[in-house]
């Protein structure tokens, strides 16, 4: 037996337009988050990689991932925290693979071509202290490093950092304390 169902064309159209509205609303919301958090993702990635082009790539990838998961990340605080963590992790991955590649290349480089220290350009680009600070930062454990980087970004309080990392405020404070102490030890 065939079952007949009464279909109201008006309601179907309304449903379609509701879906369209929902999609455009999600798009608008994402656009807001993008404008707010895009620079943050870049800065987090730059803090790890210290290369604008690489950091831009990482931020772009992280933002695209966030867009794909946007249904679950609509809450602004959640979105920001997730984005920061994913950008940091992706930047670390890229940094590690770059370091491995660099190591491999250096192994095959003839001994006379190996440079013993930074080039003239590198020295000119960053001061000696900055280079030492960067090295010291690289040696910090990830959990300390992420706190130092986020706390260093202008406009973010420790409370916001705690929210972004999903870590209690006390833990953030103690991590920052130990990280700064460690950095000072290395640079003294």
């Amino acid at each position: 037996m065939r079952e007949l169902v009464l279909i109201q064309p008006g309601r179907l159209l309304a449903g379609a337009s509701e879906r369209g509205d929902e999609s455009s609303l999600a798009h608008r919301e994402f656009e807001e988050r993008l404008a707010e958090c895009g620079p943050l993702a870049f800065r987090v990635a730059y803090g790890v990689l210290r290369n604008a082009a690489d950091a831009e790539d990482v931020a772009q990838e992280a933002l695209l991932k966030a867009y794909r998961k946007f249904e679950r990340l609509r809450e602004p605080a959640r979105f920001r925290g997730w984005l920061v963590r994913i950008a940091f992790r992706m930047a670390l991955d890229r940094w590690r693979s770059a370091r491995r590649r660099e190591k491999r290349e250096k192994q095959w480089e003839p001994a006379e071509q190996r440079s013993s220290g930074p080039t003239v350009e590198e020295l000119a680009a960053s001061s000696e202290f900055q280079a030492r600070l960067e090295r010291a930062m690289e040696e910090l454990p990830e959990k300390f490093r992420s706190v130092v980087l986020l706390a260093g970004i202008q406009g973010y309080t420790l409370e916001e950092v705690s929210g972004m990392l999903g870590t209690p405020m006390g833990t953030v404070k103690s991590r920052l304390f130990f990280a700064r102490k460690k950095l000072a030890e290395k640079l003294r």
């Binding site: 993008l34 895009g38 695209l64 600070l133 260093g152």
Partner: protein, 225 residues
């Protein structure tokens, strides 16, 4: 307290970002020129660390970042579609794996373990049947080997043809086991059951239409009241 102790306290204070010093530390700094120099050096060092970190992370954001992301987002489409595609892909993959797995199991009839794995409900049924309706001891003793052969020949097809699996009630399973156990006594039935069906077409059955010549509709008793 020694100078070392004061210096440790100074460093802890600076690392935690405290702007003021304790009274006794301030007093010591006034009295000890060495520690005062150390303190000034540490203030300078922590200041340099802070400004260095800020230089690291507050790099100007490239203007191309947001337009690039917008373009990629436009190319990616609605996020839910991506999810739908991923789920669809996963479902197809799982279905393909199940079909391949079942096909591989059925293609290898020599594998005794495979036969056992194919008919777990049946073997369970044998155990249940033995519990529910125990048969004669001679039959039971001879049963296991004989039953395995019957299962291979009757239930599991050797041609690799995909057959749907059917869930059967426990009592039906037990009845089926009893039926299989009795099959050796009924050779003709066994042959008839294992022979493939003929490909004859079913004939159409015609049912005459029901004709109603007269229809008398009377009101219900309750409606008259």
């Amino acid at each position: 307290m020694s100078c070392e102790g004061y210096r440790d306290r100074l460093i802890d204070g600076l690392a935690s970002g405290e702007s003021s010093l304790d009274g006794d530390v301030t007093g010591h700094l006034r009295a000890c020129a060495e520690c005062k120099r150390f303190y000034e050096a540490q203030v300078h060092l922590f200041g340099a660390i802070d400004s260095g970190v800020q230089t690291m992370v507050n790099e100007a954001v490239p203007v191309s970042l947001l337009p690039r992301v917008r373009r990629l987002v436009a190319e990616a489409g609605v996020p839910r579609q991506a999810w739908g595609f991923a789920w669809g892909f996963a479902a197809v993959g799982i279905a393909a794996m199940v079909v391949i797995g079942v096909g591989l199991l059925r293609r290898n009839p020599e594998n005794a373990g495979g036969v056992t794995a194919r008919v777990p409900a049946f073997t369970q049924g044998v155990r249940e049947a033995a519990r529910v309706a125990p048969v004669q001891s001679q039959v039971t003793a001879a049963a296991p080997k004989f039953h395995t052969i019957k299962v291979k020949n009757v239930i599991v097809p050797n041609d690799g043809e995909a057959r749907p699996e059917v869930l059967v009630l426990a009592e039906e399973r037990a009845a089926f086991v009893r039926f299989i156990t009795d099959l050796p006594k009924e050779r003709d039935v066994a042959v008839a059951l294992t022979r493939p069906a003929t490909d004859g077409n079913d004939e159409a059955v015609e049912i005459a239409l029901v004709q109603i010549d007269e229809l008398d509709v009377k009101p219900l008793e309750s409606s008259n009241q």
